[in-house]
């Protein structure tokens, strides 16, 4: 009973937070008539960059995932783990790293300059797409790798024993697998690129590099035109809503990151060593070099950190911990309320998750601003708003981890519990609790790291006195104090990883093994 009430309350709160804010935004805006040419080109650019980023990520992820699936080499497991890193890496740090390699003052430009060529410039469209591929290539690679691992080894042996040619391999086994995986992966990346804000903020801008999210931000912060921000937010909401409806039809790939540690038993690995080696090296370099560049530079300049770093760290940690607690409370309420209620209830909870994925932080932020503005100074609520929006953004991922674990525990042991006459409290404390410890720890780690690195609503609401680590990093970059920015990035990465590690490890220790 209590469970259903809590779960229902969370569901309603989420609907108000996502759809309610969108409604407020829709009422506030001046409709689509308020949009000028620049706004329409922002809309076009948003759709174009999301399609291109998703296509490129998938086109590159296919050979990389296949190489990882059929080759075994020292460091393979480390590389797969590293592929999970961009997901919890603060976006602004990744952008800083990409600039260090591909930017005007980066390594490649330096080499080109030395050889007498023009320097690279990645501001605008190229930078946005490069960064989106940087963040999503690893994600898609892991999704595809999981799908590859799920193919029974026997099928490859049958193909091999029939003397199958490489093309037939693809047509018989890998093609069908990709056909069922790629559409979902494409939609997922498309959605992530639609709602990605920090990348556009840091390297986007200009007539051929402004996304809708960035346009909302600019209308808000630079033009102080709330009506136009609301109109743009409405467009953003409509696009994301449409894509989410599509995502409901095409199941998004499920990943829990488990079971990626074995190598597929395939006999055709040796034939493709060179080709696979090429792709693995490309992917590894693309991942490692930018991060290495920032961290290396940052560590050398750690002593030049501005004194405000301490206050910013404390603010970021506070937001992250509050947001983690909120996210866990919501995910647990939803899982416990709906995990046992049949397919319909579960897809309702799942839809809420997708809603969190599709809601743009800036749309929610704009809506809350509009709601609060008549009564109070919205800036004063920057911290609680940031914490709750972050919690909502992390919710889909926490649900993906927690819901199956709750379902499994009830499925396996509910009858035993009933036949033993085990009470509610002892079940929660001695059975459910220990068995959920690990997924709770993992999702808490995700939520904390995501919140720690977030630079969405906070950029919208923050007054100059308020500092979080990502905000401080962004402001340092804007002032071209790149050494200090890199040093801040080190602090931010260390704190994010530490939070993730601490929660995840807390879940693993004395965890239920099963």
């Amino acid at each position: 009973m209590l469970r259903s009430v809590l779960g229902g309350a969370v569901l309603i709160a989420l609907l108000i937070f996502s759809l309610g804010t969108a409604l407020v935004v829709g009422l506030q805006g001046r409709g689509l008539g308020a949009l000028n040419n620049a706004d329409w080109s922002a809309i076009k650019f948003t759709l174009w960059q999301a399609s291109l980023s998703a296509s490129l990520s998938i086109a590159m992820a296919i050979p990389v995932a296949r190489a990882l699936a059929r080759q075994s080499f020292p460091g393979r497991q480390a590389l797969i783990t590293l592929l999970g890193a961009p997901f919890i890496l603060p976006v602004i740090v990744g952008v800083l790293g990409l600039l260090a390699v591909f930017g005007r003052a980066g390594w490649i430009s330096a080499a080109l300059d030395w050889a007498g060529f023009a320097k690279l410039s990645i501001y605008g469209a190229p930078g946005v797409i490069l960064a989106h591929v940087f963040f999503n290539l690893p994600l898609v690679t892991r999704l595809l790798l999981q799908a590859w691992m799920a193919i029974p080894a026997e099928r490859f042996r049958v193909a091999e024993s029939l003397g199958t040619a490489p093309w037939a391999y693809f047509r018989l086994i890998e093609g069908p697998m990709l056909r069922s995986t790629v559409p979902g992966a494409f939609l997922l990346v498309f959605l992530l690129c639609l709602t990605s804000f920090v990348v556009a903020l840091a390297v986007g801008g200009g007539p051929r590099g402004t996304t809708i999210e960035l346009a909302i931000y600019q209308a808000f912060r630079l033009d102080f035109d709330l009506g136009k921000a609301a109109s743009l937010a409405l467009v953003q909401f409509l696009i994301c809503g449409t894509v989410s409806l599509l995502a409901f039809l095409v199941p998004l790939p499920q990943t829990n990151g488990l079971g990626l540690d074995r190598v597929l038993q395939r006999l055709d690995g040796r034939r493709h060593r060179l080709w696979d080696g090429f792709w693995i090296s490309i992917a590894a370099a693309f991942l490692v070099l930018p991060l290495g560049a920032v961290l290396f530079r940052g560590v050398r300049h750690l002593l030049e950190l501005p004194p405000q770093i301490l206050a910013a760290s404390v603010t970021s940690l506070t937001i992250a911990i509050i947001s983690t607690a909120l996210c866990l409370a919501m995910a647990l309420s939803l899982s416990l309320a709906f995990a046992r209620r049949g397919a319909l209830a579960r897809s309702l909870a799942e839809a809420t998750g997708i809603l969190g994925l599709a809601s743009s932080p800036l749309v929610v932020g704009t809506g809350l601003f509009v709601l609060i503005f008549p009564y109070a100074q919205p800036m004063a609520f920057a911290l609680p708003i940031t914490a709750s929006v972050n919690a909502m953004m992390a919710l889909p991922f926490a649900l993906r981890v927690l819901m199956p674990a709750v379902q499994e525990t009830y499925g396996d042991y509910l009858r035993l519990r009933m036949s033993l006459g085990m009470g509610r409290w002892i079940w929660a404390k001695r059975i459910l609790g220990p068995r959920l410890r690990r997924p709770i720890g993992f999702s808490a780690g995700l939520a904390a790291a995501l919140s720690m690195g977030d630079l969405g609503v906070i950029a919208l609401f923050a007054d100059p006195d308020l500092q979080t680590l990502p905000l401080m990093l962004y402001r340092l970059m804007g002032a071209y104090r790149m050494d200090q920015a890199a040093a801040t990035a080190v602090v931010l990465v260390v704190q994010s990883l530490f939070l993730f590690w601490m929660f995840d490890r807390g879940g693993r220790r004395h965890a239920a093994f099963g």
Binding site: R415, L416, M418, S419, M422, I426, R430, F513, G514
Partner: protein
């Protein structure tokens, strides 16, 4: 005495009818084709499945609604043990589901473990036990609960032939000694013969009354013959 009084249960589109009695201390095999309703029968007796009509009586009294209050223990095919609890705790929850053991209760649990030959595994975890030892731990819990009725839902189906025979023999000794009335679902006519005195044929949504197992297998009625094929023991 277990009495299924004009019992009918429904699960999805499937329904099962049963109307018979089983005397105290009898060992009864429940056999029949997959999907015929064997597990539904056990679930109805255990209280996981509420009857549509009729009732389940024990010694003339209707059984309580809640499965935990019924005078019975049940062993499933798997998931009988919580993987993160020690063997001792797994056994002791049969006595104290709230896991607050007194000294004498702990001694009782240890004695039950001793009886099934697991006295040295009290502090081990289920993952450290072999399949047969896990089965024994489940039996220790049955012993400890001292409920007069035992339901076995193919608990040893995953074991090898020799080990399965051994477990059936241990189970038979235990229930015989304690006078526990036992219903065992099984797929294997051989197992049914070696363990039970009576058999219930469950097919096409109908559970027959128990019949002495020897004669039943010797001259099987049509439905049983169809199920057994030429594999009659």
């Amino acid at each position: 005495m277990l009495h299924l009084d004009r019992l009918a249960v429904q699960q999805g589109g499937f329904s099962l009818k049963a109307d018979f009695k089983i005397a105290v201390g009898d060992r009864v095999a429940v056999i029949g084709p997959s999907g015929g309703g064997k597990s539904s029968l056990l679930n109805a007796i255990a209280g996981f499945l509420a009857p549509r009509t009729g009732q389940v009586l024990w010694n003339g009294q209707p059984m309580p609604d809640h499965p935990g209050e019924r005078p019975l223990s049940i062993l499933f095919q798997d998931h009988n043990l919580f993987p993160h609890l020690m063997v001792l705790d797994n056994v002791a929850i049969g006595l104290r589901p709230d896991m607050r053991l007194s000294v004498s209760q702990k001694a009782q649990a240890l004695a039950a473990l001793d009886q099934v030959g697991l006295s040295d595994k009290a502090t081990a975890y289920p993952r450290d036990l072999s399949g047969g030892q896990q089965g024994r731990a489940g039996l220790a819990r049955v012993l400890l609960r001292q409920r007069p009725l035992l339901l076995l839902d193919e608990p040893f189906a995953a074991l090898g032939p020799a080990l399965k025979d051994e477990m059936l023999e241990i189970t038979r000794q235990i229930v015989q000694q304690a006078g526990i009335t036992t219903l065992m679902v099984t797929h294997d006519p051989q197992d049914a013969m070696s363990f039970a005195e009576y058999a219930i044929l469950v097919a096409d949504g109908l559970a027959d009354a128990p019949a002495p197992i020897g004669p039943l297998f010797h001259e099987p009625p049509a439905a049983l013959q169809a199920y057994l094929g030429r594999r009659a023991p």
